[in-house]
Symmetry: C2
Subunit: 399 residues, 2 copies
């Protein structure tokens, strides 16, 4: 186990929280490229330098603390949602800092990182996706936030601080610690989750078109009601998913648009979002079949026209077996019987980084499963346990 | 039967269409207080005068053609939707004109009317509701259209043409002819519908509030998904309505608002409209019980919070029995076996007028049930049959 210092680690975690502290509980407002974000990144370069690393900010604002030679990379992201929690990615960033310091003391090469804009002011995991080669810098520069600011304009705010992207080949792997952002560990009273895979996502829009009609004079049996098509579709998939899904499979409709949207008009058009996530690609594919079949069936039966949008499709990302085994041994040492293997239902920077090297993730519990909110928190003993599990695993992996 | 002249009637109907003709099929754009509307109302006063009536425009722009003594009032409205059909209320207005002319020839006192803003630029059946005493002129003047123009400002455009409201006591009753705006008569190949009642309406908003959560990390069994609450509610009421409704009962959800409305967030709040219509008050009341019980049941089972808005409640308006009988005899004479008694699923000016006197309505078929659209139409033989049925009934009623 690397010689980590829990007090120093907690102190740094609270120090990072002070950049953009919301004044509501432990909440933080530190969006990518905001003043608190830029200040926190300057502070981080000083800490990396103090840990004996070579600090470097790449062209998109990701902060790197580079150890000599081939090293293990540890970190996450320190930008937050518009109303964010104090841990989220910040926990993984400070774990990286503390493990790099402990690695330096133990003579093991550990580098650290805080990726930029994981929370998606301009996209999703923007900083790591550019480094992972999924998006070119040129394309990224044209992305806009909800106020119309471009990524190019935003990163120009840090231009005086930046130099090059580090070469991915200098790292032997990446380990990311993150809060679970879900309820499983907290409900079970467990200390940690060794992530088996980051779930894949399918996301599309479905549109039923029928006949817009007077809600008083059009009898029920002659209606082609696009909204009722959506209701029938939800019933069909809920029924057909029963023998197909696992307890960690999820599906969500979070957006609905009815046209024309009047109390007194039978809706002629209903567009709604359909998103589903699972750790296994074959299950994602099978769910897609169920969804497309159900939508076609409803359209046929109710005389509606069916249109589907292009589909966002991110396949599940498996975590490295060797890294997982090392994390599992660490977890069993620090919290015997109080940890589990589990998929990650959320996207993380690890997805992007997996393009270049083996990756692994460790989750600590989220109290009541809450994240992306000022109330987000984790018990201090669980934060420290997470650090110690990493200290065990990294000692093995980085050796 | 009054000596009506079908050719003159059809010619006038086409003349009225020319005010605001859209150039698309027979469509008309003649919103209340628009230039074409005001021009058409001037034209109408000339026709009323030519028919031997005393023409008068009241303070809200409703045009009256008044016969001497106690008379039967016949008419409807000549304003249209933003994209309207040529018949809608215009048919009833020209029926009123032709029947007043025929009444004058036969020595029977028949008055005629075209109400203002039935289509709801400023409300619903605004002109007749003011005359019916449901809304004061003072309150109405503060109503605004979607562009922010007040009713007071709009009616000032006609101020040089207007005088007083006529005294309702000079009329012995009101008969309104209108297109069905639904598919029943057209589908059955029938010529006319004698309206039994104008259906009552209940209209409210229902809100389920649950927990806004991450759509990737929140497992299905721990979600409090406000959208899924709405889906469950729709299933429950559809099932429970089965033994309660008649073929002419309708219910509609035409508006849905999900919060926050993101693909990746389990919706924390879902507000949707719920409107139902039926000709019988007890059935409307029983449906309300089913709706409220189902919403409470879903909220309880899914751990959601339930809120309901205030409810708009318009009771059914029965048509006068004697007038109905006269219309039925007229229908059986002109179109033997090819007419029916039926409720009106839409509101009409007759609802407002019923505050003052007995009312009745006659429907003619709408081709494919279409109205409030440029495609709206009715076969010429059915238009003439409607006029002749009225000519029979009015000869009885006005005598």
């Amino acid at each position: 186990m690397l010689p980590v210092n829990p007090d120093r680690f907690l102190a740094d975690l609270h120090k990072l929280r002070s950049f953009g502290a919301s004044g509501v509980g432990k909440g933080v407002v530190r969006r990518a490229f905001s003043d608190p974000d830029i200040e926190s990144r300057k502070w981080l370069t000083e800490q990396y330098t103090g840990a004996g690393l070579t600090a470097q900010i790449d062209p998109v604002g990701t902060v790197w603390g580079l150890a000599e030679g081939k090293s293990l990379l540890i970190g996450s992201h320190s930008d937050t949602q518009p109303e964010g929690g104090w841990l989220d990615g910040a926990l993984g960033v400070i774990c990286g800092l503390e493990l790099a310091r402990a690695g330096a003391e133990a003579g093991l090469p550990v580098s650290a990182v805080s990726f930029q804009d994981e929370e998606g002011r301009f996209g999703v995991t923007t900083g790591s996706r550019i480094w992972g080669g999924f998006t070119s810098l040129e394309d990224a520069d044209r992305l806009t936030d909800t106020d119309g600011v471009t990524f190019g304009e935003a990163r120009a705010r840090m231009a005086d601080l930046t130099s090059d992207f580090p070469d991915p080949s200098r790292f032997k792997g990446f380990v990311e610690c993150h809060i679970e952002q879900g309820p499983w560990l907290d409900k079970a009273g467990e200390a940690a989750g060794v992530v088996s895979s980051i779930v894949g996502i399918r996301d599309m829009r479905i549109t039923f078109s029928g006949e817009q009609n007077h809600a008083g004079t059009t009898p029920m049996h002659l209606r082609k009601d696009a909204y009722q098509g959506m209701v029938a579709f939800q019933n069909l998939i809920a029924q057909r998913f029963r023998n197909l899904v696992t307890p960690s499979t999820v599906w969500t409709t979070g957006h609905v648009d009815l046209y024309p949207g009047s109390h007194s008009i039978v809706p002629g058009r209903c567009t709604f979002s359909m998103q589903w996530r699972d750790g296994e690609k074959p299950r994602l594919d099978r769910m897609e079949e169920v969804i497309r079949e159900a939508a076609e069936e409803v359209a046929r039966e109710k005389g509606l026209k069916l249109e589907t949008s292009g589909m966002l499709s991110l396949d599940p990302v498996p975590m490295d077996d060797g890294f997982q085994a090392a994390l599992a041994r660490g977890a069993e040492t620090i919290a015997p019987g109080r940890w589990r293997k589990m998929p990650s239902g959320a996207l993380h920077d690890s997805t992007s980084v997996s393009a270049h090297m083996p990756v692994a993730m460790l989750f600590v519990p989220s109290i009541n499963g809450i994240s992306h909110a000022f109330e987000e928190d984790t018990r201090e003993e669980d934060l420290v346990a997470g650090l110690q599990i990493l200290a065990h695993a990294v000692a093995e992996i980085a050796a």
